[in-house]
Point group: C2
Amino acid sequence: MTSSPSVTIRRARRDDVRAIVEMLADDHLGRARERLEERLPDSYFDAFARLDADPDIQLVVAEEGGAVVGCLQLCMMPGLSSQGSSRGLIEDVRVASNCRSRGIGERLVQWAVSEARAKKCCLVELLTHHTRVDAQRFYERLGFSKSHVGMTIRF
Amino acid sequence: MTSSPSVTIRRARRDDVRAIVEMLADDHLGRARERLEERLPDSYFDAFARLDADPDIQLVVAEEGGAVVGCLQLCMMPGLSSQGSSRGLIEDVRVASNCRSRGIGERLVQWAVSEARAKKCCLVELLTHHTRVDAQRFYERLGFSKSHVGMTIRF
């Protein structure tokens, strides 16, 4: 793996939404869930407006040479447990398929872990599909442990 | 298991914080993490104020005969994936040790699933420690599947 010094992590903007949805759809689990149409459904932009206005949510992109090549969403939630510490939840980590194995995902996740730590979170958590064995190894390499079972109900 | 028709699910108030922290501490994993002192540390009340002011977070308690006998926190987060659907995250589910096996946890979780569904979430997710095998069976009985691995870094 080569590092990517030319990659910048920055807050996502409304005009990044299409590039982000393209990455979400470029995946065996995501393909069936997204609607990557010529005119992207308004629901994506409505969701962007909601999350962009939420001070506890940061949707960031990795940018290289003017192109969006990765994304990650970090949500920091207050709660009573662990003496009233907040928790960070990482979701929707993606790297463009032609840019993988170059350390971009690592840069994104390390950004999120540092950010959560700086904001006094007691932990960072994430769910990764049980079939994504490579992702689990990737997160273990970055210091995460497979401490929990992630359970879901999809409507 | 007998049902608990006399149990009410309601939004937590500031004067429930001690009862909630008592339940969080009454647990082999929670014991070391909480500070259940005569005067509860301010950090708990500061966290309560933050989450109580957050429109995306609902900390609820189960009340029976005027006593708090259970709690659950539901966070609903906007995001771009699944066509801009929100996700619900359940955390900090507890039932007082002398009130277990009476359907109170089930009432709490069913409330959260219904609430997330009513607010148009595409899924509800949670992490449960890999050692909590009974909890996993409980959630499977309520329709959750062990679809994901829950990964954490604790600071």
